[in-house]
């Protein structure tokens, strides 16, 4: 019995080791290359530590242009996708529609469509309908088609936990539709809206497949990286990868840390509330007995 448990533990342990090794080793190799003086992107032979590739990267004006474009596109996508996602989430959760399931399927369909299709169709549509050539604008629109759906899903999952009578109460106390929305509903949705903003920006910032077909001759950072990687590979790209990875790790750690703090705060408050209720129970309802 004990030995079979041990065997299971060893199997589980080595599986976890292999799984995370599979996930992280390639990234680690890629990172090491960024610091190798060798002008070929390789781990060995190790020709000495250097910051040279980071410096080279920083000298590349096209990289900076691409980064600027990425920021413009990312912010624009956020400005389009979050309001659309919110509207779609409200529509699906608030109305008792017979065609709800159909609408839902339609709304999530951009997520389930290959990214290149969204890029191609947006590119063709704007060319044909408005004679607008592929560029940053078409990239923004193409990305927003599916990023809006992600925002919708995020917001919906929060709305579903909302107690609607709070809105009725506010309405009953004299608030207008807009006041109810801005004073009661929106504050409740705030966490989901923040995560939608973060998600939308990240999705946009990382997007390659959709953007490639929609953007014409402009470049966002992923397009720049893609072009570079297809031509000749310089360890400067590894340097860029290291920056990306470091930022991602920081983001993930902050995200997890905040979640942990939130959970701890919640537990703390619950404990306090319990203590308070206990204290109230010891002296039952003061001043009211004479009523």
């Amino acid at each position: 019995m004990i030995s079979s448990k041990k065997v299971l533990k060893i199997i589980t342990g080595s599986y976890l080791f292999l799984f995370f090794g599979y996930l992280f080793l390639p990234l680690i190799f890629m990172g090491i290359v960024a610091f190798n003086s060798s002008s070929l992107p390789q781990v060995s032979p190790w020709e000495g530590f250097t910051w040279h590739w980071f410096h080279e990267l920083s000298q590349d004006s096209r990289m900076w242009d691409a980064l600027t474009n990425s920021l413009i596109v990312g912010v624009s996508v956020v400005c389009i996708s979050v309001p659309i996602g919110l509207a779609a989430a409200l529509l699906l959760t608030r109305l008792q529609l017979k065609s709800r399931d159909l609408l839902y399927a339609l709304f999530v369909s951009p997520i389930l469509t290959p990214g290149i299709i969204l890029g191609i169709s947006t590119f063709l549509f704007w060319d044909r309908a408005f004679a607008v050539m592929g560029g940053l604008w078409t990239a923004i629109v193409a990305q927003s088609t599916f990023i809006s759906a992600y925002c919708m899903l995020l917001i919906m999952s929060r709305i579903q936990r909302f107690d609607r009578t709070q809105e009725e109460a506010a309405f009953d106390l004299g608030a207008s539709h807009q006041q109810v929305f801005f004073k009661v509903t929106l504050p409740f949705l705030k966490p989901a809206l923040f995560s939608s903003v973060a998600l939308a920006f990240m999705q946009s910032f990382e997007n390659y497949n959709t953007t490639l077909f929609a953007i014409g001759f402009e470049q966002t950072l992923p397009i720049y990286i893609g072009t570079k990687l297809r031509q000749f590979i310089s360890p400067a790209m590894n340097a860029l990868a290291v920056i990306f990875i470091v930022l991602t790790i920081l983001g993930a750690l902050i995200y997890e840390y905040r979640r942990m703090m939130e959970r701890r705060k919640e537990a703390e408050r619950k404990k306090q509330a319990k203590a308070l209720k206990k204290a109230m129970a010891v002296q039952p309802v003061p001043a009211m007995q004479g009523a």
């Binding site: 190799f29 109305l95 999530v108 549509f125 927003s144 999952s157 539709h177 990382e206 990306f244």
Partner: protein, 297 residues
Amino acid sequence: MRKVWNQAKHEFGPIGLAYVLIAVSVWMLVMVVAPQLIMLDFSLHPLLFPDEIGGPKDVWTLQNYEILFSNRLHMIIFLKTIWSSLLVTVFALVICYPISYYIAKVARGASVGWLMVGLIIPYWINELLRLFAWQIILADSGILNQAMLWIGIISEPLNFRAGNGAVILGMAYAYVLFMVFPLYNALESLDRNQVDAARDLGASWFRIHRRIVIPHAKPGIAIGCIMTFMLGAGTIAAPQLLGSPSSFWFTELIYTNFETANWNLGAAYATILALLCLVFMAIMLAVFRVSLKELSR
């Protein structure tokens, strides 16, 4: 219809209703449906010179679609795309199922948080960079060749990127994590007591998973497979970065058509790709008897 309208007015107020309707209809009509229709329209027209457009040659035709079936090379590429996407999907399911189960039901306390961070970090890293990592591993002077040379398995560096293997390896690596999160979400809602009860009754490890865990994870399996297949079939980054000039992929075929300004053929192939994903999704949903609603969990 009237009733829905009245309810909507009641629900959102005039300004709110205007916002919801405008936002959703712009999204659906201008950004999703109309572009798809335009793409379909392009695909159903022959490639013409600008002065021929509107002329007698400008007719509806299936000739762009017929090319796929008449061009043997294109057909092979198309089938290869299906085959390798399926392979990647199965691979992802096999290696992600245990980790999802482990995080959702076995691991406890702080280790759950750390394992999640361990999944989120590679998941958040740009797919291009994830593919780039394999470019470095599989390069002629890459770490894999060097390691094998050093061990002595080979005497000459192998060209891993000659065939399709590198692309498939890269795809598997880049999209594997799209399987983890749907699976994890589905498994998390499984009541641990069910598993314990089954174990108490003497059910074997295999039986517990077949009878209890997997049926519960069905929605996650379906959604995960749909996502992974769609990303695999639709990726252009993987073949661009890891493919060789001799190995062409369906997405690259589409891209080349746009580069050479044959938008009509490109649109037709893009439509075929979209249909392929749609068919795969329909099959998965039917086989696992789940609805798309599971996506929102």
